[in-house]
Symmetry: C2
Subunit: 724 residues, 2 copies
Amino acid sequence: MKCFSKLSLLFLLFGMFMPGIISAQKATWMWYPGDFEIWLGNEMQNRRTERGAFFPPFWKMDSHYVLIDFHKNFELTAPEEIEIAVEGRYNVKLDGKLVFGSPAKMTIPAGKHQLNIKVHNQANVPAVYIKGKTLVSDASWLCTYEDKEWIDESGKASDQSGTIFLNAATWNFDDAQTPPSKYQLARKAVSAKKAEKSGKSLVVDFGKETFGYVRLHGLKGKGTVNVYYGESREEALATGTCETLDRKNIDSAQPVTLTLDGSRAFRYVNVECDGSVQLDSVSMDYEYQPLTYKGSFRCNDNQINKIWDVAAYTMHLTTREFFIDGIKRDRWIWSGDAYQSYLMNYYLFNDDATVRRTLWALRGKDPVTSHTNTIMDYTFYWFLGIYDYYQYTGDEKFIAQAYPRMVSMMDYVLGRRNANGFLEGLAGDWQFIDWADKLSKKGEVSFEQLLFTRSLEAMSTCARIANDKAGQEKYGKLAADMKDKFFKTFWSDDKKAIIHNRVNAQLTDNVTRYSNMFAIFFNYFTEKQKQEVKQSVLLNDKIQKITTPYMRFYELESLCTMGEQSYVLKEMKDYWGGMLDLGATSFWEEYNPAKKGADHYSMYGRPFGKSLCHAWGASPIYLLGKYYLGVKPTSPAYQTYLIEPKLGGLQWMEGDVPTHTGKIHVYCNTKEIKVKSDTGTGTLRINSKSKPSCKGAAIVTKGNGVFEMTVEKGKEYLVKYQAK
Amino acid sequence: MKCFSKLSLLFLLFGMFMPGIISAQKATWMWYPGDFEIWLGNEMQNRRTERGAFFPPFWKMDSHYVLIDFHKNFELTAPEEIEIAVEGRYNVKLDGKLVFGSPAKMTIPAGKHQLNIKVHNQANVPAVYIKGKTLVSDASWLCTYEDKEWIDESGKASDQSGTIFLNAATWNFDDAQTPPSKYQLARKAVSAKKAEKSGKSLVVDFGKETFGYVRLHGLKGKGTVNVYYGESREEALATGTCETLDRKNIDSAQPVTLTLDGSRAFRYVNVECDGSVQLDSVSMDYEYQPLTYKGSFRCNDNQINKIWDVAAYTMHLTTREFFIDGIKRDRWIWSGDAYQSYLMNYYLFNDDATVRRTLWALRGKDPVTSHTNTIMDYTFYWFLGIYDYYQYTGDEKFIAQAYPRMVSMMDYVLGRRNANGFLEGLAGDWQFIDWADKLSKKGEVSFEQLLFTRSLEAMSTCARIANDKAGQEKYGKLAADMKDKFFKTFWSDDKKAIIHNRVNAQLTDNVTRYSNMFAIFFNYFTEKQKQEVKQSVLLNDKIQKITTPYMRFYELESLCTMGEQSYVLKEMKDYWGGMLDLGATSFWEEYNPAKKGADHYSMYGRPFGKSLCHAWGASPIYLLGKYYLGVKPTSPAYQTYLIEPKLGGLQWMEGDVPTHTGKIHVYCNTKEIKVKSDTGTGTLRINSKSKPSCKGAAIVTKGNGVFEMTVEKGKEYLVKYQAK
């Protein structure tokens, strides 16, 4: 609690004296930061079903604050009528005085004023929309859940109470008629590609993995209609073991159309009627978040193009109200899965709002009683996700809003260290790391310590942004100490690798890929260590292989950071190409090339337990954008950035990487590179046998066949070079 | 958080291995402890209006947990069909396996089983009702909000996770059709006593203070009907300054009856119509909690009898879903006000459930961000209320359920101590103490330290009940240290009194009644100090007088504990009798005999700001029961108790004090005492000039004219004595 007390003043200052935050006069619904997101997260995560039974998450779900006060100080040069729309019971106070009733309109006289709107809502999130000529609801308003006594004697908000006031949160709810509680994804009607009827059964194929609401046409008679869903044909036909199904009682002499009210993931639908029930046909309402594919990638290799397309579709299907894991099973927000979605998103939709929503929903409210999703590593991915969000967006307002909950989350972690300052699994902790056989979680697992160290670095950065100087120093020192201790403890000169774990103060001789590959792209190794690890671990077949696209994401990323684009391209074609060869229309939760036939669909001991559309399967989007087109920010929000194209064996490639102020376009073949950027100041780094040339740009020689030039916003550059 | 982890195992053990908790096979709705209470508290406290505007509390309101798992392990000797009713979306797991859909009925085979019901509900509290021949929902079920990962590999509740499992909470919702969310107070139609019509206005008098919904009969025409409420006639007529009012637009050619949907407190209603609106008459629906007056008091002094009756009615009006402060204004749960209601309740309704509900609603959820109701002293009354609850009820189950939140509340307090270990007002803290002019809240206020010390003692007792041995010792030592430091710091041998406060390490010379009178009935003084304080403070007119019934409660209590019943009786007759003489039909928030006419109704700078029905005005019930009839428990739940009748100048008195297993009846005049008890083992203490006599009981002489005898359950005793 002490932390909050200290922080509150900062937020007060931040909110009150930074008029730069005040946006243009566009009215929009506002709420307490995180509350709509937590509420919507509960709604969404409670939609999972398993064979007809409700299947909610198995961790603590939090609520929005049910009573919120919103206020703003302003000056009017002329009297102004405002329109007031509110979700919840509310009152209005002008200059500390209550107004009669709950007015939907009121006129405010000219002059300086403080307007307060106080809202109570248990079922939905307290939210307010104000529209006047100059006074509108937006992120410039302050709000409080009244953590302390905060009203001064004149009935106005006091700045002496230590109360937390945050700038209100907003999104795109810009119409009084569409409040946050009415938020829905978009829908469109889609026909089936193929239908086979046999007796009482109708098997329909939609041609590819999809998501939405099945619609049954021409339904009549009396009895039950059973709808079995399949991501594979086999699953839809396996009425006893398919993962999702619906049953409806029908009693209608006249043919009717019935749209089922539960959304499901499927490619195939098997409809079986009993009694006298008959139906004509099956279609669906596809449900999706209407996002633009702002990133793109094309090259001479059509398999890679197909991989990119299917990865993008996989990403789109799993980018719903939030970034979820998979669309058939779970449909929950898992922090480790979402962390990869954030990164892929920056190279495809570049949609900040979904990242923010997901981070809020994952965090929930205080008190922290367990790790995020109950998983230790997932707590750390939450911190890392905020760190990356800041790098890609530069959104300091969000960091300041989230910082108090970062502090309490980190307090929870720090409170669980053992006598050595390391984290071990305690009662109720799950250490996931990866789905892999015989993966030890005993003692002090190096992978967890590594993520912990990185999270402390993220805390230090965010403390700086939130103006918490003491925090910046504290977390910076903790991070440096942890890093030092980590290498002293887990680095083995013998093995030339980070050891997997230490049990009862004894290092094991277990080497796994996880810590080693993360330490590479965290840039924690010396150059010498990095090269050693590449041979001793990454390219060493004796080290247990990775079979999930989840960890392949990081494995391939670490190889890319070491310039192994050619190797990675081949791996990508084998692994993701392998799924395509088996007919995948979206990428899977797990893929083991050694499996055969329908055995590919099994997992968790269930024949169709595997998700065939899993966000973590979409990593080629990220790898191709960041490590082939080679575009990444080097300061927040692409104020500065790097373009370092690597063909990795391709003849040519071309694509866009989205930023907040436009895109960065790159074309590259073995002789020419073309770049054009709408944003910031870029550095184009060229690997060339000879010194490249470019009209209108100075090429700087960096040695070892590396050259650099500056890319200005709005200019088009054509560089001649010789690919190595 | 560490506290919770340690505690959780205790609760697990408590719940799992204490089959004694399992009640009879009566099915009743169950929920997570505290959740219905917090939810209902939000509903009720958001009903306040001020002149037509919604007026919610100004502190953080918490929510119920939205996702709860309930489970029970049991054995059936024969297959059994159960009925399942649930508030919320739910699933059912039998022995770790999900059942299809959300069944309303199911048959469980014979044998050993674990049944889990998991419920999600945002708007209302997740609640479950199960009814089978032997398996029913009741307080023997365990529930969790899943603070940790808690499901083992077989899908069942694990006892290794450190998860908090509490026994489910229940009340009197014993029918599947009346779930907790439908809870309502009782209502009955009441006619007006008097009505005066003049022009467009109709003034109605209900004869006494009341509460409910006004009903307008024969309403017709077009225009507005304005309803002005008054606890006094003056208030109802003061349309511009009355505290509550309602306005309705009417447009009806035919006469209709309209019951207003907001409940209000009033004796008078002034209905004014405009436009062509007319009405015939006004009645009301009285709303009340249907409680039995189990306590009683009668004596030879009719004024005292009237005081008791009006106090009981005041208490009944303010005993709503919770113990609230007053029925016109606030209508909120204030911890300091409620604390007195608990005590009065033990001598009137003896209704445990309302005490528990009030304690839960006041506490809310973690994290603690401010004092209870934002008031430091009110935090301490919360602890004291639990301590007393245990004394009067012996309800260990509730103590165990509440203990984790007692720990986190006390952690908050301990974290706010200054370098001397004392509490000073920090930003956002309100130190109320009493409504009194020029009452200093500066520096270290002795009154707050005194309540803090007592709260630490309460913590130690409750730690023992919750099997937290380390806590028992820790809080016990903290309490002893505080008490020692308190007297060293604040006791003045010069003033023969506890000093009011210390500012910048300097004791002031300010003496107030507050700490001195509390230290008396906390029994913190030596006998010598007590007698000194009586003269130097309590009976000293130079010390600022108390003008609220709130603090008069404690002032008179401290005098009673010192045997000043005669003095207190006179004070009671003057003070409460004074209100009756002014026509009070319920007792007030404040009474200053020096005021005149309608000025009595003013407070907070508003002409009708004062509440004329305030719970803290009802203390004669408590004083007469505890210090005149003289009945109080000496061990939890009246297993042992004391009866020490004190006539205080009355000729005779007679009454009942309720306990959980019946009542204790006392009759006393100057020569005879009759007692009969349904419970425990009592000690009758008799103050007599000569040794009393009683058939069937041995009288023990204690010295100084004090005699004692044992009172057995179920026996009637007639004692002959000579009043001193």
